[in-house]
Symmetry: C2
Subunit: 344 residues, 2 copies
Amino acid sequence: MTAISALTNHQVCLASRPTGLPTRANWRMTTEPVAEPGPGGVLVKTLALSLDPAMRGWMNEGKSYIAPVEIGAVMRAGGVGRVIASQNPAFAVGDHVNAGLDVQEYCLIPEAGIKRSGIFKIDPSLGLTTWLNVLGMPGMTGYFGLLDVGQPKAGETVVVSGAAGAVGQMVGQLAKLKGCRVVGIAGGQAKCDWVVNELGFDACIDYKAGDVKGGLKTHCPQGVDIYFDNVGGEILDLMLTRIARGARIIICGAISQYNNTTPVKGPANYLSLLVNRARMEGIVVFDYADRFPQAIAELSGYLKAGTLKSREDVVTGLETFPETLLKLFNGENFGKLVLQVAAE
Amino acid sequence: MTAISALTNHQVCLASRPTGLPTRANWRMTTEPVAEPGPGGVLVKTLALSLDPAMRGWMNEGKSYIAPVEIGAVMRAGGVGRVIASQNPAFAVGDHVNAGLDVQEYCLIPEAGIKRSGIFKIDPSLGLTTWLNVLGMPGMTGYFGLLDVGQPKAGETVVVSGAAGAVGQMVGQLAKLKGCRVVGIAGGQAKCDWVVNELGFDACIDYKAGDVKGGLKTHCPQGVDIYFDNVGGEILDLMLTRIARGARIIICGAISQYNNTTPVKGPANYLSLLVNRARMEGIVVFDYADRFPQAIAELSGYLKAGTLKSREDVVTGLETFPETLLKLFNGENFGKLVLQVAAE
């Protein structure tokens, strides 16, 4: 076993704020020595990081639901890792943990940062990366977004965009478990086939093939009761023309708009909210942190029973981060995007 | 007393669907003889009609919360009148009533149309046109929109646009009664002064004077908890940048957009709903019809106690309808716009 003082921590730092899609020039690769934790601190070796569309927002200046990543700072990321040194009685060497590890190989969490890092021990028997997926932020987002904000009722029609993405796959399956009719929207036949054949969605519309409007007419003849929006833009605007009376639109993200260099396109058909007595509401998953344990317990049960499936898109190598992140924005990733940093 | 068979009914019919602002060419003035009611029917003489922004929407083709007015049909309008002939035991000659009377001097309501017309007897002692204002659709819209959809809590900041209009004056006063800080937005110093000095709003921003953004910063330093939107467009978009966490935006109307000849401007800043875990929700007053009596009882109490004020903008003459309606869209009307058709 290598002594900690002999280790080098490779990191990916934000060098500048991007305009449009981030490029390699927006990142700086840095190294620093790895230090032993002080009293109450923990040193975690990063095994895998969660790559999420929300990261694009964290790179921007300005007020949001969370502070932007500072220029020069290690890029923010949640991840799973293994404790390799600990002066905190709650964590032992060898424990697997989930925490805000950031885009680096080693994360030193001082006592004062324990709470902020959100570190908690995980059971690796369900799969380590499951904690970045069904049992992680995407799972929690789908769970509370659909159930708390959307309030689905059996028999209702639920549409989810980004259906083959980390959040979309959860939303659709949970809606099926609640007895809803579920229609996905995804890019390409392979993703559409997968959510229908493997996840049990009732239908999936391939937006790359063109006729989303026709697809909605065909697959949602009674209109759309819940639309879980991960994409924004034209699809949100179109959906407003198809909502049913009393519909709920959950604003979870707007991946089509994150790399805009022109102003965001607002939903021109928003007056459909009036006509249909409908509502559009945002969700930020951190608000539900107190209830994560309850959701994790329920979702773990589904995983063990085999009633909930998920897919991961795992790319290996910290140094690939700048390009791997872009898979989220060019529609290339299929399932939860994970950056594997170390094997164990 | 003139015999009914000797009366002539002057009517304003929709001749064509307008593009942009309606002009006189979109209307046709017609006359027809007045007929006696058949069994179960009622004949009402129109005294005053309610002129509302929603009328512009009823003139358009296409699906909405209510069917469009057919080409050639008498224009739809709610109003107050006096029963001048009745074969219905629920209504006696001389009774004052509120009903869907349409833009005409006499309204014959057959037995089969009694329910659809929404006819009910009113107490004229509170003022006849009060039943088109505080105790009518604008009052009901403000009451249920603010209280049911908005759910105001004491100490919250409520902003209402169209503050000196029929709905706006209600919303602001009801919000004050609930212990909220209330800021209006209206066009011109006279309207702003009136809502502050007469109605007791905490402040009012004159959008015609320009700096709405600065006004919101000054008067809503903690952000906006409830925005009651009667106007849409730029002001809605601006408001999205000023909402507080957990804000509720009530979409009641979008008067700035009703006469557009270009596509409606969607709220580009809608992602603020996500950042602020806020919601935007539509209201259609007809959904609350079962609860109108309860609201009318409460609001009548406020009127009798003098705690609720209102202003009416009364224009006389059925034939002025085409031009009078435009007062709603050019910002000229001040208070509830009423078309007086007959003195008694």
